[in-house]
């Protein structure tokens, strides 16, 4: 069978779902048999696996900074179909407390994250033995500093990954730390913010260690 013929098999179309594991049993068996003689699919399977892994590594837990915007409940914006009761809703704020999501806990601090109604806070970061956590650190730099100095500062923090700059000029770093309390995190943040040429540092979320990283 030629490579062109192989890639037109209906089973070739199912390859991404074989990789993500959502095919039913019969489809999986057919795909396994197909892979035995389809070189194009065998090669693409490796690529799709790498893409899947890359996408998984990019996943970062980010929790909300703000409660439901009041505007969402602006009665003027609510245009339900005829017959639905209208309700005047104003000034809703979510109940204060912990917004626990399976893999992440938001850690808010500083004026940038504690505007009116910022209600997702935790009193302490989780303590899990001696585990380290991947913390998401946002950094802003003094505008006049050089790119080299900025890069050296980022590198010195030994991040797991770096993204940025975003359109506001800030960088997102994932840093692995053993910190297990808000005090430890705050101390780390202060040390980072004291560095030149950092102008502002925020820790906004954590991501629990990912197995196999």
């Amino acid at each position: 069978m030629s490579r062109r013929e192989q890639t037109t098999s209906p089973l070739c179309e199912l390859l991404p779902w074989y990789v993500n594991g959502t095919l039913d049993e019969a489809e999986q068996k057919a795909m396994i048999a197909h892979l035995d003689h389809c070189q194009a699919c065998r090669e693409e399977r490796i690529v799709l696996g790498e893409i899947q892994e890359t996408l998984g590594r990019e996943a970062v837990a980010v929790l909300p900074r703000a409660p439901i915007p009041d505007a969402l409940f602006d009665d003027d914006k609510r245009q339900r179909s005829a017959g639905t009761a209208r309700h005047a809703i104003t000034g809703l704020a979510l109940a204060a407390g912990i917004a626990a999501v399976a893999v992440a806990i938001v850690l808010t601090r500083g004026p940038a994250l504690t505007g009116p109604g910022t209600l997702f806070e935790t009193a302490t970061a989780p303590a899990v033995g001696n585990a380290t956590f991947d913390y998401v650190l946002h950094l802003e730099f003094h505008g006049a500093r050089s790119a080299e100095e900025r890069d050296a500062t980022i590198r010195a923090l030994n991040p797991e990954s770096v993204a940025g700059p975003d359109r506001n000029g800030s960088y997102r770093l994932i840093v692995r730390l053993p910190a297990q309390s808000m005090d430890e995190l705050e101390a780390f943040r202060r040390r980072v913010e004291a560095r030149e040429p950092v102008s502002r540092a925020e820790i906004i979320a954590i991501e629990l260690p990912i197995e196999g990283r």
């Binding site: 179309e13 199912l14 991404p16 779902w17 990789v19 993500n20 594991g21 959502t22 095919l23 090669e43 693409e44 490796i46 690529v47 799709l48 696996g49 790498e50 893409i51 899947q52 892994e53 890359t54 996408l55 998984g56 590594r57 990019e58 996943a59 970062v60 837990a61 980010v62 929790l63 909300p64 703000a66 439901i68 505007a71 969402l72 409940f73 914006k77 609510r78 339900r80 179909s81 639905t84 009761a85 309700h87 809703i89 809703l92 979510l94 917004a99 999501v101 399976a102 893999v103 992440a104 890069d151 980022i154 590198r155 990954s161 770096v162 993204a163 940025g164 975003d166 359109r167 506001n168």
Partner: protein
């Protein structure tokens, strides 16, 4: 095969409970809306931020999605899971906004020094990230749906609002574009192919 990293988007909550929440939202319950919002904001934020890499835009997008949920809860017919319905809204809202702008490069790990034995892997990942950033928003979403969120082809069809065969074709086109971009970038997989 491995469990997709984002699969939890569709699995975290009980659908029956969420359907009850939507019914309450349709009756105008702000408490129900608050609960749904609290459940979905992080998940939607995480997913949409992967596409925009822009916090302000992502916040805006998530609120756009939740506004549609608030306005349209009474239109939910129960034909799909609530999470699929909400992801469908996110798909349409995201596509509308992201189509107007080029998706930015997500990551630049080349900036950081890496041990030699990991360099090739890091370089391949960088090429993949670059290639993903060059996909059209619609193609990027197809790849994210399958390889990040781990949706089945039926779920992709539900989210996109198209027949199953169309969903397969869209993903096929996304794969094709991704392969072409990867080839242009000089990507070779770990087997050197």
């Amino acid at each position: 095969m491995q469990q997709s990293a984002g699969k939890h988007l569709l699995e975290r909550s009980s659908d029956a409970k969420e359907q009850a929440l939507l019914r309450a939202i349709a009756r105008g319950s702000r408490d129900a809306m608050a609960e749904l919002y609290r459940n979905y904001y992080p998940r939607l934020f995480r997913f949409l931020h992967r596409l925009s890499h822009d916090y302000s835009l992502t916040e805006e997008l998530v609120n756009d999605v939740m506004l549609v949920v608030w306005q349209s809860a009474d239109k939910f017919q129960g034909a799909s899971k609530v999470s699929t319905w909400i992801l469908g809204i996110a798909y349409r809202q995201g596509l509308k906004k992201l189509s107007k702008r080029r998706l930015p490069l997500a990551q630049d790990s080349g900036r950081i020094e890496t041990p030699v034995d990991e360099r090739q892997t890091v370089e391949r990942r960088d090429l993949i990230v670059k290639a993903l950033s060059r996909l059209t928003p619609n193609h990027r979403l197809m790849i994210e749906f399958v390889l990040y969120l781990g949706l089945s082809y039926r779920e992709v069809a539900d989210v996109v609002g198209c027949p199953v065969n169309t969903a397969k074709t869209r993903v096929h086109h996304a794969r094709k574009q991704l392969r072409e971009i990867l080839t242009t970038l000089g990507y070779r997989n770990e087997a050197g192919q």
